[in-house]
């Protein structure tokens, strides 16, 4: 993989692409909402499971509440209800998630690739 003078430009362009995807990400919220679609199959919350089968399996109840994620379901703390606020929270979540994911991947790649003679 050669990175020549326009190699940097490519990476910059690709990052702009990722940025555009982050801005468009609420489509992944709005379009399912428009069609009244809920969770992915097998990703229901406890309430939904209760509606589906009439009870909450014992083990599921215990494990489901094991971890409280800080930005649950791509929402930000203090977010107001409504699709507009949900969309903004979704974009903010995308930006935060992209930054942390890319940062961590970069760090891991740097650490792992460190010993490579070609560097």
């Amino acid at each position: 993989m050669r990175v020549n003078s326009d190699g940097m430009a490519t990476i910059k362009k690709l990052w702009i692409g990722i940025g555009i995807l982050a801005l468009l990400s609420p489509l992944g919220l709005i379009i399912p909402a428009f069609f009244g679609a809920g969770s992915a199959w097998g990703e229901w919350g406890l309430e939904e499971i209760k509606k589906l089968i009439g009870f909450i399996p014992e083990g599921m109840q215990k494990l489901a509440e094991l971890w409280k994620s800080p930005l649950h379901d791509y929402t930000v703390p203090g977010q107001k209800p409504g699709l507009t606020h949900e969309s903004l929270g979704y974009i903010l979540s995308a930006v935060i998630g992209i930054a942390i994911t890319a940062g961590l991947a970069y760090l891991i790649a740097r650490l792992l690739g460190r010993k490579n003679k070609e560097n």
């Binding site: 993989m1 990722i18 468009l24 599921m60 971890w67 998630g97 994911t101 970069y106």
Partner: protein, 232 residues
């Protein structure tokens, strides 16, 4: 396809961590040997792409949603081992920060979407694209088919892991303790929506981005030659 906490019993999620760990270790070793400094930014980009593309939920008949993963695309551009690392990082951040996929299910989700997704996608692409020019249409078709099969394989694995729960994890009175739906429900449900819709979305995303690279950065598609040791 992000299995949440509470759907898999300890026997299953424990096993899946055990199965995934050697792949993470081997991928790390492989990257240690082959990853070049100039590929590092692309790996970060790949992880970010996988993260954000999974936020594009698409509704399907029956009231559920699904999404592409970008795994095959990353495997084609950076190799399967880099893809395993990149997509695993995205999945782990999704679980920890956003509760998308359970923390107990990180092993299973990474195995389904990153490990099997990456290896299957790359293998099928190599098979179909072998000997073709980097700018040929065969590369695009290979990428699309590989992405379609790869995503469907990942979905089938998730369906099996969910579907065996009522068989192996039940209370003394016979009630399911974790995911309550048997294989006869989980496999058709997951397989159909991925065969009919999400697989095509993954294929389209893969082919479109590959087309972009063919036009603007065809060297990125030379991985097949690189892996045969040709000096570049």
């Amino acid at each position: 396809m992000h299995i949440p906490d509470g759907y898999l019993g300890p026997a299953t999620y424990g096993t899946m961590f055990g199965v995934t760990l050697p792949f993470w270790a081997f991928a790390s070793w492989k990257m240690n040997k082959t990853l070049k400094a100039r590929q590092v930014p692309y790996l970060a980009l790949g992880a970010a792409f996988s993260f954000v593309i999974m936020m594009f939920n698409i509704p399907v008949l029956g009231g559920t949603t699904g999404h592409a993963t970008g795994t095959t695309l990353i495997a084609i551009l950076l190799g399967p081992w880099a893809a395993i690392i990149a997509v695993s990082v995205a999945l782990i951040i999704q679980a920890l920060l956003f509760g998308d996929g359970g923390i107990t299910a990180i092993g299973a989700n990474c195995f389904n979407m990153a490990v099997v997704g990456g290896l299957a996608g790359y293998g099928i692409y190599r098979l179909i694209a072998a000997g073709s020019d980097a700018k040929s249409n065969r590369r695009l078709i290979a990428g699309a088919i590989a992405a379609y099969v790869s995503l469907n394989t990942s979905a089938l694995l998730a369906a099996v892991q969910l579907g065996i729960q009522p068989l192996i994890e039940k209370s003394p009175s016979g009630q399911p303790l974790y995911s309550p739906f048997p294989l006869s429900i989980s496999i058709p449900a997951m397989a159909l929506e991925h065969l009919l819709l999400f697989g095509f979305v993954e294929a389209a995303v893969t082919a479109l981005v590959l087309k972009y690279f063919q036009k603007n950065e065809p060297e990125m598609l030379e991985l097949i030659k690189d892996s045969h040791g040709r000096a570049r």
